[in-house]
């Protein structure tokens, strides 16, 4: 409690606290768990539709840029090391090199940073439409921006084919964006003070919320 109060006032400290470490680990675990229901592959290009993108968006919107980034990086490192934590029980370095979906994985890292940063600008108010925009920008635009070209390169296809094909993700990913924002809104209520707000004027408002919570 006192730690998060302090966070709300001063810029983020350089090192991660043990509580941060635990939050990062449990979110990496959460993304892994979201892979358990499996993956759905449809269309010409075999990039799966997966719940794990929801976990990635949540990591950014709930933990913020820094911790969220580490959570995703952690999960990906374990996958690279050979643990079957991608949806459908896949793992190993293949999925980061020659796989058509490799780019999306790097896109996750960039996307979580964008969502986390924009969310910290929105907090403590977390206005619905702004949050939807921020999450869609990081969770869809940025992720596809990296993912689509890599699909094209790895499969030797023109980029527009990969782009057209990626449209199949849109409905699902839009739902994930909405779910992420609604969940994050509730979570910030149930557990105030997770992301230090970058707004000076309203920074004190966060502190107030935290104190009344105790």
């Amino acid at each position: 409690m006192t730690a998060s109060t302090r966070l709300a006032r001063t810029p983020a400290p350089r090192t991660l606290s043990v509580r941060d470490l635990a939050q990062i680990a449990i979110f990496a675990a959460l993304i892994a768990a979201l892979g358990l229901p499996g993956a759905l592959s449809i269309g010409a290009v075999a990039v799966p539709i997966t719940f794990q993108t929801l976990g990635v968006m949540l990591a950014g919107a709930v933990l913020g840029a820094r911790k969220g980034f580490f959570a995703v990086l952690l999960l990906l490192s374990l996958v690279a090391a050979g643990l079957p934590l991608l949806s459908g029980g896949r793992g190993g370095i293949v999925w980061f090199t020659t796989s058509p979906s490799a780019g999306y994985l790097y896109g996750w890292l960039l996307g979580v940073l964008v969502i986390g940063y924009l969310t910290s600008l929105l907090l403590p108010r977390y206005r619905l439409w702004a949050a939807l925009g921020a999450t869609a920008l990081g969770g869809i635009v940025v992720v596809y921006l990296v993912g689509v070209p890599v699909t094209a390169i790895n499969l030797g296809l023109p980029i527009w084919v990969a782009l057209v094909d990626s449209a199949k993700f849109l409905p699902g990913d839009l739902v994930k964006v909405v779910v992420t924002v609604l969940v994050a809104r509730q979570v910030h209520k149930a557990y105030p003070g997770l992301i230090p707000s970058r707004r000076r004027a309203e920074g004190t408002a966060t502190t107030g919320a935290v104190t009344t919570a105790s």
Binding site: T15, L16, S17, V18, R19, D20, L21, A22, Q23, I24, A25, I26, F27, A28, A29, L30, A32, A33, L36, A44, V45, A46, L58, V62, F70, L74, L75, S77, L78, A80, A81, G82, L83, P84, L85, R90, G91, G92, I93, V94, T97, T98, S99, P100, N154, L155, G156, L157, P158, V161, V179, L182, V183, Q186, V187, A190, Y191, L194
Partner: protein, 197 residues
């Protein structure tokens, strides 16, 4: 920590993890430079030989390489349409070799070896990265996966008992919130066991 490892004592299994990783990267790069189908075919044979040397069971190998074959079945005709069959064949060959080699690495290297190897790799960066903490985080995540699974089960049961199935939202919110409170408790336990802030 078993992962996708296929146990064995072959030369491929015993080779140091970092050496395998370096060889793998060079091989993938090299294959990318080859421009003739016959060269690729030779490489493909070499890779198959490596699988034999490592005595990888057919099933385990198929589980890793099978998915890419399906991708090729769709992608090769598509590519042939845009760039001709020769290019499509080259692309398919390169992809297959790279995937097979990466799979071989994963199948013959334990997760522990990879993690220890990467901690070694991180050592030169020790001014910025605490390799010990990285190792801790990796292990902690493995511990947390069953914990999250347990939380999901408990939340589903609680919702059911209250007669409201609710939406995906009413599942996700409590799971995330309880995970965060569990993280607090774990953080505290870490501190109590001597992991300082």
């Amino acid at each position: 920590m078993i992962g996708l490892y296929s146990p064995g004592h072959s030369l491929v299994h015993r080779a140091p993890m970092l050496l395998k990783l370096v060889l793998l990267s060079f091989a993938v790069l090299g294959v990318g430079l080859l421009g003739e189908l016959w060269q690729l075919s030779l490489c493909l044979f070499a890779v198959a030989a490596l699988f034999l040397v490592a005595r990888i069971p057919l099933g385990a190998a198929w589980k890793q390489i099978g998915p890419i074959l399906w991708i090729l079945v769709v992608a090769v005709p598509l590519q042939a349409l845009f760039a001709g069959w020769a290019t499509a064949g080259l692309m398919a060959g390169r992809l297959l070799i790279a995937v097979a080699l990466a799979a071989l690495f994963t199948l013959t290297t334990t997760v522990t070896a990879v993690l220890e190897g990467s901690q070694k790799l991180l050592r030169p960066l020790r001014r910025w990265v605490d390799a010990d903490r990285v190792g801790l985080l990796l292990a902690l995540t493995l511990r947390c996966i069953p914990l999250v699974a347990e939380i999901v089960t408990e939340v589903i049961e609680a919702r059911r008992a209250r007669g409201t199935q609710g939406s995906l939202l009413a599942l996700a919110v409590p799971v995330v919130v309880r995970s965060l409170y569990a993280a607090d408790a774990i953080g505290e336990a870490l501190a109590a066991r001597g992991l300082d802030d």
